[in-house]
């Protein structure tokens, strides 16, 4: 069975890689997940409307004026790697490790970075810590804050609350 932390990253990555569908919604009914999600945002796992979820995904992560789930949108300042560096890191990792990463998303997308982090946690935990520091920590907090504010579907607000708890900003962990 995969490591719990790794599975959490994989689960979170799934929220950004594609719309919430029935499969994902049912996975959220696993008691441990449901209970915690409900604790964070009561009622969030109660009902599901596939069309509304698809429109919400599109509004938040596909169209402009949403909350693009890419590092490039949120990185600030000069103290951290830029998105070009993160893209390069992901592409270099993919070729060095021969990984099958989602290719319908830009390399600095949360739908790529989070599952990649999951793989590293499972297989190379030391590298995983560095990866989190380099590729996720510099931008996840502002992204999650924006997502919390803009998401209408409670499940995305839950994800937005989990992300900064899991990936604290650089220098605060």
């Amino acid at each position: 069975m995969p490591d719990a932390e790794a599975s959490l990253y994989a689960l979170l990555g799934r929220f950004f890689a594609a719309e919430i569908d029935r499969d994902l919604f049912e996975t959220l009914q696993v008691p441990d997940i449901r209970e915690t999600f409900e604790k964070i945002e009561p009622g969030c796992t109660a009902c599901f409307d596939e069309e509304a979820a698809a429109a919400e995904f599109c509004r938040l992560f596909v169209l402009p004026k949403g909350t693009p789930a890419v590092a490039g949108a949120w990185l600030k300042g000069t103290g951290s790697p830029n998105s070009t560096a993160i893209v390069g890191l992901v592409l270099n990792l993919r070729s060095a490790l021969d990984l099958d990463l989602p290719d319908h998303l830009p390399p600095d997308h949360a739908g790529v970075l989070l599952p990649l982090m999951a793989w590293l946690l499972d297989h190379q935990p030391d590298a995983a810590a560095d990866f989190r520091e380099q590729a996720l920590a510099p931008w996840v907090a502002p992204f999650a804050a924006a997502l919390q504010e803009k998401a209408e579907l409670p499940l995305y607000r839950v994800v937005a609350k989990i992300l900064p708890a899991l990936i604290p900003p650089v220098g605060t962990s």
């Binding site: 069975m1 995969p2 719990a4 932390e5 599975s7 959490l8 994989a10 799934r14 996975t27 441990d32 997940i33 915690t36 604790k39 964070i40 698809a54 429109a55 995904f57 599109c58 596909v62 169209l63 402009p64 004026k65 909350t67 693009p68 490039g72 949108a73 949120w74 990185l75 600030k76 300042g77 000069t78 830029n82 998105s83 070009t84 560096a85 993160i86 893209v87 390069g88 890191l89 592409l91 270099n92 060095a96 490790l97 021969d98 990984l99 099958d100 319908h104 830009p106 990649l116 999951a118 793989w119 297989h123 190379q124 590298a127 380099q134 502002p142 992204f143 804050a145 989990i162 708890a165």
Partner: protein
């Protein structure tokens, strides 16, 4: 819940692990493709750093930051384009580029770029979408299109593009489908300057190619190559070299001190629409002073010099001063200096002179100046160079033939009555249109394809070639002149950038007029927002194209646009989209798209080049370095091969019923590619077209020889009437760059520029807000003469002393409401730190620490206003060119 504890996280993780362990499809895990043990990874070593020229790959391509198409080199490292440089092998740019070239990196990597096909789930225009797969998107589009083709009404499919530089690929698609409706925006842009050129010099020369490098004197009527001009980048360094190294002089007539005006030796703020008056007066002076090149005129023009003299006898410098405000003494001086510099002198013009009711005639007068001093085709003069295509056209003799790989679909049939015509489509047209077209001469009947493609009221929009009248497409659809079942817009921003853009939006919003709208574009802009399906397109850094255009170095060249990186996300090139769509529509369409890859298609296209494909890709550009420059092409004798099968009729050398040359001094030479092989200073096509559409014979546009008349709405300007003009900045394109972060940082608003004296008259100070209210035009144009204000907008005032005091001007690239945070200049507290950049240094190119610092939310000046709703649709009679610069307005202080 106030705080999420680690144990909460682990609990979710444990649940997820359980689900993943049980094979839950909802938690996709990354897998390795290899079986071997993974190597140990040091993340810090894999983080991509600065651009490292020893590691980065340099790939030449052709920039598409604007329609100039410069040869560039992109540096690619770690999967991203990091930097754009000029390609020194490009003979047109000579290695130069402009700032917008880096904008292509912004365009490719901006965080709000559309990466997936989307389908509307709310009402059209409501902004509710869902992501769909390519398969779903293309199947649905094909299912909508197929019945039109199979049902014999392919014309109900309308393809409307804004920027299509695929050099015929999209035409391959529309032809294969069978629709003539491949509409463009040429009337918005350059048709009023192309038409006079083609009238003078023939279809092959819709664009001039002055020999700036060797010139001594340039008279520029409203062209702005230093800032915004198709081909400006090819011109600017040559003009500067001629000025700085060669002592050349440039005179500019403009309404505001543009970048070009600022490097000119003489700049005159001119009354809009009076450039022709100055040109006529210059002709008058040159003739009066006997400075004309009579030999050239008599040899190559079709108008006796005495007739020209007669036609300009009243166009004195004093008269021109009254019209234009340019001092008579300066007109005298410039005319003499220009003629004395001949043949190393040239005119230049663009929208400034041409986008007026009398603009076609103004440009004909300007073109006459060159013929009069005999500088045509001479070193330093007004040259005509081989244009695009390399298909053996005039000026392309001896070049390897390049053509799109076959099989090529046939063109659709023209619409009309009789054999070889599409009668069914024709009979659906309104009666008055049928009657008009039935009365057209045969030459036009053969070119008529309905009101959207070839509006019958504007025959000179399609007499030479299909320039269209894009701004009338939406009103015509609204009037019911053409039924539309599927409308596909491609890189088109009509609902933001066309005049009366609100009409475009109204029609696009109306599902009874446009039942199905597919938008193909790189970003989600105002046009896409009114679509049913949006297909995300690759940028020019991610796709192939053929490139060939006129070279200001006067040697034909060709280049290839090639992908530097794979299309981002799920985006696809327009070629790939249309190829796939053609296959799905089927019914034989697929036969024209049966190539195995895009690269294979382009390789075949260039197969006749005398360099290998790999070498061509490595250089990005090819031209014959030993080829003679395109000077005096018209004097070149026809070769023995060209003379084969010809017969001399009168002066003309005829082949297959067409003149291919002209006898001069007993020798068969090429002449110009006009029907009579000389320069048509006099052209009956203008009165012929006027008569055909009922334009009065005394209208300025109906004259066979250039004449002057005041722009109708400028005839009785009141004290408080002003002329409203627009312009472009060097960091923006018309409507496609408002969301490029770094360029928006430089220009993000569009104040109302006016002369300080104008401000004083109006009682406004710099920074005050004003309302600009625009009237409908007068004269024979769309809704011409209707009373009342057409539209208004508001913005703050900036003073500019070099402006003409009767003119107010705004730029028009800003004030987007789609295209994301930068385009809309909205900076929310939780908005993304928008911005993309080359990424060559350590500083984060994506980050904009101050975000959109100019947004109103940050106390900035804001993002300007969209002005195009307030500008009337105003097609020039006969050509349909949009008369952007005739608008009369009132200004109120707010």
């Amino acid at each position: 819940m106030s705080e999420i504890k680690r144990r909460d996280l682990l609990k979710i993780g444990a649940g997820a692990a359980l689900a993943a362990g049980a094979g839950a499809a909802a938690i996709p895990l990354v897998r390795r493709l290899a079986d071997s043990a993974p190597p140990a990874i040091d993340i810090k070593k894999l983080v991509a750093g600065k651009l490292d020229y020893t590691r980065a790959k340099a790939v030449p391509t052709i920039c598409f930051g604007c329609t100039t198409h410069c040869g560039v080199i992109g540096w690619v490292q770690d999967g991203r384009v990091r930097k754009i440089e000029g390609n020194p092998l490009d003979p047109n740019t000579q290695g130069n580029i402009c700032s917008k070239a880096q904008g292509m990196i912004s365009y490719t990597y901006y965080p709000e770029r559309l990466m997936h096909p989307i389908k509307r789930v709310g009402k059209r225009g409501e902004g509710k979408w869902k992501r769909i797969s390519w398969d779903e998107a293309l199947s649905e589009i094909a299912d909508r299109m197929r019945p039109l083709r199979e049902g014999g009404v392919p014309e109900e499919f309308v393809f409307h593009y804004g920027r299509d530089k695929t050099k015929g690929y999209t035409k391959r698609f529309t032809n294969a489908f069978g629709t003539p409706h491949r509409l463009n925006r040429r009337s918005i842009c350059s048709s009023n300057r192309r038409a006079p050129l083609m009238s003078f010099y023939g279809r092959e020369f819709e664009w001039e190619t002055q020999d700036f490098e060797n010139t001594k004197y340039i008279v520029n009527f409203g062209g702005n190559p230093m800032e915004a001009y198709q081909g400006g980048l090819y011109m600017m360094h040559r003009i500067q070299k001629a000025r700085v190294d060669g002592g050349a002089k440039m005179v500019t007539f403009e309404i505001r001190p543009s970048a070009t005006a600022s490097v000119s030796e003489d700049y005159f703020p001119i009354m809009p629409g009076t450039d022709g008056a100055v040109a006529f007066a210059m002709i008058h002076v040159i003739l009066r002073e006997g400075l004309q090149d009579e030999e050239f005129w008599n040899r190559w023009s079709n108008l006796p010099l005495e007739k020209l003299r007669e036609s300009v006898k009243d166009y004195t410098p004093g008269w021109a001063e009254e019209q234009s405000g340019v001092p008579a003494a300066d007109i005298e001086r410039i005319a003499v200096e220009f003629a004395q510099a001949a043949p190393a002198c040239c005119t230049m013009s663009n929208r400034g002179s041409a986008k007026h009711y009398n603009g076609v005639q103004a440009d004909r007068a300007i073109r006459t100046l060159d013929v009069l001093v005999g500088n045509v085709g001479k070193p330093g003069g007004f040259c005509l160079s081989s244009l695009r295509g390399w298909a053996g056209r005039y000026g392309q003799e001896g070049l390897p033939k390049l053509s799109q790989p076959g099989p090529k679909p046939p063109n659709p049939k023209p619409w009309g009555i009789g054999e070889g015509y599409d009668e069914e489509a024709f009979k659906k047209l309104p009666d008055f249109v049928q009657e008009r077209v039935n009365n057209f001469p045969e030459k036009w009947k053969k070119k008529y394809f309905g009101e959207l493609a070839t509006p019958s009221e504007y025959p000179l929009a399609w007499h030479w070639y299909q320039m269209r009248v894009g701004q009338l497409v939406y009103p015509y659809i609204k009037e019911g002149r053409q039924k539309v079942s599927v409308y596909m817009s491609f890189t088109l921003g009509a609902s933001y950038g066309y005049p009366e853009a609100n009409v475009a939006r109204e029609v696009l919003q109306d599902e009874s007029l446009i039942p199905f709208h597919v938008a193909i574009d790189i970003g989600y802009g105002e046009q896409a927002a009114l679509a049913d399906i949006v297909l995300p397109e690759a940028t020019s850094l991610e796709r192939w194209d053929h490139h060939s255009t006129n070279n200001y170095g006067l040697v034909p060249y060709t280049g290839v646009r090639q992908p530097l990186v794979e299309p981002a996300g799920e985006t696809k090139s327009v070629q790939a989209i249309l190829q796939d769509l053609a296959k799905r529509i089927g019914g034989g369409m697929e036969e024209y798209f049966a190539f195995e890859s895009e690269e294979a298609f382009y390789k075949e296209w260039y197969k006749n080049l005398p360099v290998s494909w790999e070498d061509f890709k490595r250089r990005g550009i090819w031209y014959d370095e030993g080829r003679e420059k395109d000077y005096e092409l018209y004097e070149r004798p026809l070769t023995d091969a060209e003379l084969e099968g010809t017969a001399v009729e009168g002066d003309l050398v005829m082949k297959g019923g067409k003149a291919v040359g002209i006898m001069m001094d007993g020798k068969a030479v090429r002449g110009f590619p006009t029907p009579n092989r000389v320069i048509n200073v006099y052209d009956e096509i203008w009165p012929e077209a006027a008569k055909a559409v009922g334009l009065p014979a005394d209208d300025v546009n109906a004259s066979p020889i250039a004449v002057y008349d005041t722009v109708p709405e400028h005839r009785d300007l009141g004290e408080d009437d002003y002329i409203f003009s627009t312009f472009k900045w060097n960091v923006h394109t018309q409507g496609r760059s408002g969301h490029w972060k770094y360029h928006a940082e430089i220009v993000h608003t569009n104040p109302v520029f006016m002369h300080p004296e104008t401000g004083e008259t109006l009682g406004v100070q710099e920074g005050d807000s004003v309302r600009v209210s625009v009237y409908r035009p007068k004269g024979h144009t769309y809704r011409g003469g209707e009373d009342g204000i057409m539209g208004s907008f508001e913005n703050h005032v900036r003073f500019l002393s070099g402006m003409h005091p009767k003119v107010v001007a705004c730029s028009h690239h800003v004030g987007h409401w789609e295209h994301g945070a930068v385009g809309a200049s909205k900076n929310e507290a939780t908005g993304p730190a928008e911005g993309t950049g080359p990424g060559a240094g350590n500083a984060d190119p994506q980050a904009a620490p101050e975000k959109i610092w100019w947004s109103k939310g940050r106390g900035g000046i804001g993002g300007g206003v969209a002005i195009n709703d307030a500008l009337p649709i105003n097609p020039c009679p006969l050509t349909g060119g949009q008369n952007w610069y005739d608008n009369v307005c009132k200004i109120e202080k707010l």
